[in-house]
C-alpha cells in the first residue's frame, strides 16, 4: 500500500530550515534583540551638526566575553547590502566611496554590567578630529561629513569573525546650520512708552513756544502802544515799589 504512514504536510520545507539553522549555529552569529538608541535628551550636545551621542550597549554582549565590540555607521542605502564578514570601508572614504565604516572598537571590559545607577554611559560618535584625513586610520571616529541620516549597529568580532550583532538603529538625523541673515533684524515695533513720551514732550514744547510767542507779542505791544494790557496792573507793582522806597526813605527823612 503506498503512503501508509501519514506524512507531516510541511516535512519538505522543514529539512532545509533545519539545515539552515544548523549552518547558522555553526557560524555562531547571534542576533541580539537590541536597537542602538541616542542617549538621554537631557544632553545639550545629543546631536550636533557633525556628531551624535549613543547609549552604550551595556549588558548586551555577555555571551561573547572575548569579542571586540565595534560600532558600524552606515548611510541607510548601505544597510540592506551590508556584509558582516566583508572588510568594511574606511572612514575617510565615507560616504562617497564606502557606504559604511566601523569604529569605536572596545572589549567587553568597557561596558561592565550592570550599569551603575546615576552614571552617564554614552558613546560620542564623531569626536576624533585628528585622524580625519589620515588614511592609515580607517577606523577613525571622525566627525560625520553631513547631516545624515545615518543608521548604526553594534557588531562583535572575534578576530575577523562576526559572532554577534544588534539590530540596526532608526535613522539618526543631525542638525543643519542655517544663515543668521535669514532672521528679521529690523521690524521692531515702537513701544507704547516711546510713543507716549515723544507725543507728550512735543505737545509741551509746542505750548512753551506758543507762550514765548505770546510773551514777545505782548512785549512788542507794550513797548509800542503803552499800557493796553488787560492783565498787568502797573499801579499795583509801582505802588509796591514806592512803598518800599518810602519805607526806607522815611526814617532818613525824619533824621
Amino acid at each position: 500500500r503506498p503512503h501508509s504512514r501519514p506524512r507531516h504536510p510541511h516535512a519538505r520545507t522543514m529539512v532545509p530550515l533545519l539545515l539552515l539553522l544548523l549552518a547558522t549555529a555553526a557560524h555562531g552569529l547571534v542576533q541580539l534583540n537590541y536597537k542602538p538608541t541616542l542617549a538621554s535628551p537631557d544632553l545639550g550636545g545629543l546631536t550636533t551638526t557633525s556628531t551624535f551621542v549613543l547609549e552604550q550597549p551595556r549588558c548586551q554582549f555577555e555571551g561573547q566575553p572575548n569579542a571586540d565590540i565595534w560600532l558600524v555607521v552606515a548611510v541607510p542605502e548601505a544597510v540592506r547590502d551590508f556584509n558582516n564578514s566583508a572588510v568594511p570601508g574606511a572612514f575617510q572614504d565615507f560616504p562617497d566611496k564606502a557606504g559604511a565604516y566601523v569604529t569605536l572598537n572596545t572589549t567587553l571590559l568597557s561596558y561592565p554590567c550592570p550599569k551603575a545607577p546615576g552614571e552617564i554611559t554614552v558613546l560620542r560618535v564623531g569626536s576624533e578630529t585628528s585622524c580625519v584625513d589620515d588614511k592609515s586610520r580607517p577606523t577613525c571616529n571622525g566627525p560625520l561629513p553631513g547631516p545624515g541620516p545615518y543608521r548604526v549597529k553594534f557588531l562583535a568580532l572575534e578576530g575577523s569573525e562576526p559572532v554577534a550583532e544588534t539590530m540596526w538603529s532608526d535613522p539618526i538625523q543631525l542638525k543643519t546650520a542655517r544663515q543668521p541673515s535669514s532672521n528679521p533684524v529690523t521690524g521692531s515695533r515702537h513701544s507704547a512708552g516711546m510713543i507716549a513720551l515723544t507725543s507728550i514732550l512735543t505737545i509741551l514744547f509746542a505750548i512753551l513756544l506758543a507762550g514765548l510767542a505770546a510773551m514777545l507779542v505782548f512785549w512788542r505791544s507794550d513797548a509800542c502802544g503803552g499800557g493796553s494790557s488787560t492783565f498787568s496792573k502797573p499801579e499795583v507793582v509801582s505802588v509796591r515799589r514806592y512803598n518800599t522806597h518810602h519805607v526806607y526813605d522815611q526814617p532818613a527823612a525824619r533824621l
Binding site: D42, L43, G44, G45, L46, T48, T49, S50, T51, V53, I120, R124, G126, S127, E128, T129, G142, P143, K175, A177, R178, Q179, P180, S181, N183, P184, V185, T186, S188, R189, H190, S191, G193, M194, L197, T198, I200, L201, T202, L204, F205, I207, L208, L209, G211, L212, M215, F218, D222, S229, F231, S232, K233, P234, V236, V237, S238, V239, R240, R241
Partner: protein, 260 residues
C-alpha cells in the same frame, strides 16, 4: 491790592522753589548720565559694533543738559527775586533751547532702545565673535571688542550665546569657520570653569551634560543694563521736562506781570 500783592509773592516763592528743584534734579541727571557713560557693565563694544550707539549719545547730551539746567536754575532764581525782565527773558529763551536738547536726548534714548532686539545681538555675535579675517582696522577693532565682551560676559554671567548654546548649532557663524563642530560645539567659555580658568570637565562640556556647561542664554544679562540705561535717561529726563514746563509757564506769566 494786598491780595494781588500776596499773589505775586506766592508766585515768586513758587518759582524760586521750582528753580531749586530743577537745580537739584539737574545734578541728579548729571550723576545718572555720567554713571551710564562710564559703562559699568562693559557692554559698550556690543553697541559700538551695531553702529547704533545713540543711547550713549543721549547720555552725553544729558550730562551737558544737566550742567546747563543747573546754571539756568541759578539765573532763574536771581531773575525772579530781582524781578528783572531782561534776565528773565534770557532765562526763558535759554531754558527753551535746553528743553529742546533734553527732549532730543529722551526721544533718542527711547527710540534706540526699541532698536536693540535680541536678533540684533544674535546676528552680531554670529558674524563677529572670533572672526579671523577682518577687512580693515575699524572692522578689526569692532571684532575684537565683540569677542572680548562676549568672552567676559559668558564667564561672568555663566551664560552661553544669546538664547543658549543651541545658537552655535542652529546657525552658521564666523566662529564655526575656525573651530570645528566636533571639538567646539560651542565656545570654551560656555563651559563651567574652575578657579584657574579651565573647564571643570571638557568632555562633559562638549557632550552638554547639565552642570558642566552654561545652558542659559546671555540676553537677559545684556538687555537688563541696557534697558536701565535707556529708560533711566528717557524717563528721568521726561520727569524733569514736565516740571520745567510748569516752572517756565509760571515764569512767563510772572514776566508778563512785571512793570517794565
Amino acid at each position: 491790592m494786598a491780595k494781588s500783592d500776596d499773589g505775586i509773592h506766592i508766585l515768586q516763592g513758587l518759582l524760586v522753589f521750582g528753580n531749586v528743584v530743577i537745580g537739584m534734579c539737574s545734578i541728579a541727571l548729571i550723576a545718572e548720565c555720567i554713571f551710564f557713560v562710564s559703562d559699568p557693565h562693559g557692554l559698550y563694544p556690543l553697541l559700538e559694533a551695531t553702529e547704533n550707539d545713540d543711547i550713549y549719545a543721549a547720555a552725553w547730551i544729558g550730562i551737558f543738559v544737566g550742567f546747563a539746567l543747573f546754571a539756568l536754575s541759578i539765573l532763574g532764581i536771581i531773575g525772579v527775586i530781582k524781578s528783572n525782565r531782561t534776565l528773565l527773558l534770557v532765562y526763558i529763551i535759554l531754558m527753551l533751547i535746553t528743553y529742546a536738547f533734553e527732549m532730543a536726548s529722551c526721544i533718542t534714548a527711547a527710540t534706540h532702545r526699541d532698536y536693540l532686539t535680541p536678533n540684533v545681538f544674535l546676528k552680531q555675535m554670529l558674524e563677529r565673535y572670533q572672526k579671523s579675517e577682518t577687512d580693515n582696522n575699524n572692522d578689526k577693532w569692532m571684532t575684537d571688542g565683540v569677542t572680548k565682551t562676549w568672552d567676559k560676559l559668558m564667564l561672568q554671567d555663566h551664560c552661553c550665546g544669546v538664547w543658549g548654546p543651541s545658537d552655535w548649532q542652529e546657525y552658521t557663524s564666523a566662529f564655526r569657520h575656525t573651530h570645528s563642530d566636533a571639538d567646539y560645539p560651542w565656545p570654551r567659555n560656555c563651559c563651567v570653569m574652575d578657579a584657574q580658568g579651565s573647564p571643570v570637565n571638557l568632555d562633559g562640556c562638549k557632550l552638554g551634560v547639565p552642570g558642566y556647561y552654561n545652558s542659559n542664554g546671555c540676553y537677559d544679562a545684556i538687555s537688563g543694563p541696557m534697558n536701565t540705561h535707556a529708560w533711566g535717561v528717557a524717563w528721568f529726563g521726561f520727569a524733569i521736562l514736565c516740571w520745567t514746563f510748569c516752572v517756565l509757564l509760571g515764569t512767563m506769566f510772572y514776566w508778563s506781570r512785571i512793570e517794565y
